[in-house]
């Protein structure tokens, strides 16, 4: 399979502190790539560099390349990159003043789309893709904050999908959810693979094993190992990886 996104010698800093160092990694198209590792290993920083969210924090710096379908994203305008590479965050964060409908179309509307038919179509399609349509189709004008935690997270996924990104980044999307809501999101991730390239950061190894095609293990800002998920968990090549997945540290 072809790499949709590729990092080349990517390093990132918070002020003087180096968070990730010299990461070269491929993310395959129409596949789920997981990044695992203990807290503070730089997995969130890495994923935030992929759609230029890292630079929204003051005093940060990035070196190296991120290539999306042949183009260096650091040579494109940041807003263009973020429309092509969407993101879902750890904590569900629907816009508090907007209804469910408005939340889904926020990305389109605030980028200038006014055509009501197009917006309606985007709401239907995105909510269906996010497996939320049946639960909210009669209450589209209710506040996004009125939904349960798991529904809110699926609403955020629908909101990210509505701008038709090519890649969807997920930064620990289930860590604030209960097991049932988590299972729903995991099913969803599995289905979305058909149309999108997904990158998911998780500190839950079982989750990586359940949803990901390939898994990368990071430790202290370095990429230690990347492999097909099954191989990484069953036949780790590095002793660090083995100690982590067997629970000896982390």
């Amino acid at each position: 399979m072809a790499a949709k996104v590729r990092t080349e010698g990517l390093s990132a800093w918070y002020g003087p502190k180096k968070a990730i160092e010299d990461i070269t990694l491929d993310f395959e198209e129409h596949a789920v790539s997981a990044i695992i590792g203990p807290s503070g290993c730089g997995k969130s920083t890495l994923i935030r560099c992929l759609n230029r969210m890292h630079e929204t924090i003051p005093k940060t710096r990035v070196e190296g390349k991120v290539v999306l379908g042949g183009e260096d994203i650091y040579a494109l305008p940041a807003v263009t990159v973020r429309r092509r590479i969407g993101m879902v965050f750890q904590k569900a964060n629907p816009f508090p003043t907007m209804s469910i409908y408005e939340n889904v179309v926020a990305g389109l509307r605030l980028n200038g789309e006014r055509n009501r038919d197009k917006l309606d179509a985007a709401v239907l399609e995105s909510l269906k893709q996010a497996a939320l349509w049946d639960e909210v189709k009669d209450s589209l004008d209710k506040s996004g904050a009125s939904l349960s935690g798991g529904q809110q997270q699926r609403l955020c996924i629908a909101r990210a999908l509505a701008v038709r990104p090519e890649v969807l980044l997920m930064d620990e999307p289930c860590s604030a959810l209960d097991p049932i809501a988590t299972a729903k999101i995991e099913d969803l991730i599995f289905d979305l693979r058909k149309d999108y390239t997904l990158v998911i950061v998780t500190h839950n190894m079982q989750q990586a094993a359940r949803v990901a095609d390939t898994t990368a293990f990071m430790y202290l800002g370095h990429l230690i190992e990347v492999n097909r998920t099954r191989d990484l968990f069953e036949k780790p090549r590095e002793t660090l990886t083995e100690s982590y997945i067997t629970g000896r540290f982390g």
Binding site: N51, M53, T56, P58, V79, T80, V81, R82, R83, R84, G86, M87, F89, K91, N93, F95, P96, T97, A106, G107, L110, N111, S143, A145, S146, C156, R159, A160, V163
Partner: protein
Amino acid sequence: MKFRFDRETRRQWKDVVMNVAALLCVAIALIPLGSILLEASLRGVQSLSPNFFTLTNANGGIGNAIQGTLILIALTALIALPVGILTGIYLAEYGKNRFGAGVRFFVEVMTQIPSIVVGIFAFSLILELGAVGIVSPRLVFSTTTGVIALSTIMIPFVARTSEEALRLVPVSTRESALALGIPRYRAILRVVLPSASSAVITGGLLGVARVGGETAPLLMTCLGSSFWFGGLDQPCESLPHTIYVFALGPDAALNQAAWGASLILILMMLGISITSRMIIRLRSVSR
């Protein structure tokens, strides 16, 4: 009878004493407030009549003062709300650097400047501009100068409250807007600002209430007038000024009318506070 002063009893007594002390302090704080409200209501009500609202100061009414205060408040809000809110946005969203820290400090100091000093500032500003011929010297005592003074008081107040309101919007709201490829200025205006709108509106209304009650800066800018509003370049009457003049006036009828004017001013400011609370409540219910 014998008191058993074990640990538990001591604690219970301490609790009682603290509660009583707290209640006492509340009473001390509320007595002046209650007495003002009661006095102003009881005495003020007596002077209320249709004529009281329709006549000018010259004839013992407060019609022109209400008109003047409303004009002053409206013009001040027109200037101070946009400038103040935009300053607040700058401080909260872009001001995480040394320049921002400088502006924040400056705004902070501005909010604490005695209002009479602000009056002198507006007065001297127009006086100087008049001396070099940029504006007419007549403008020194005018509605315009009054609005400059009141805006100088209100802008830092609104900037501070807006900044604080915007800071309460979680970073995650900003991040998720940016992650949708929305340009930063639009994310701020269309997502972050609406999320903080009730607090921003409250701050704006409290700012209006604050300048609505100002007297000192108006003494040397608007001056006061016994007539109806005559234009932006003319002196202008206001409720606080009317109260000041009536209260110091030589005859008992004027002193009585001062109570009526006080009551009206209190009711206006109370109305603003209640409106702002209602806005907050309505918005939180609709959620």
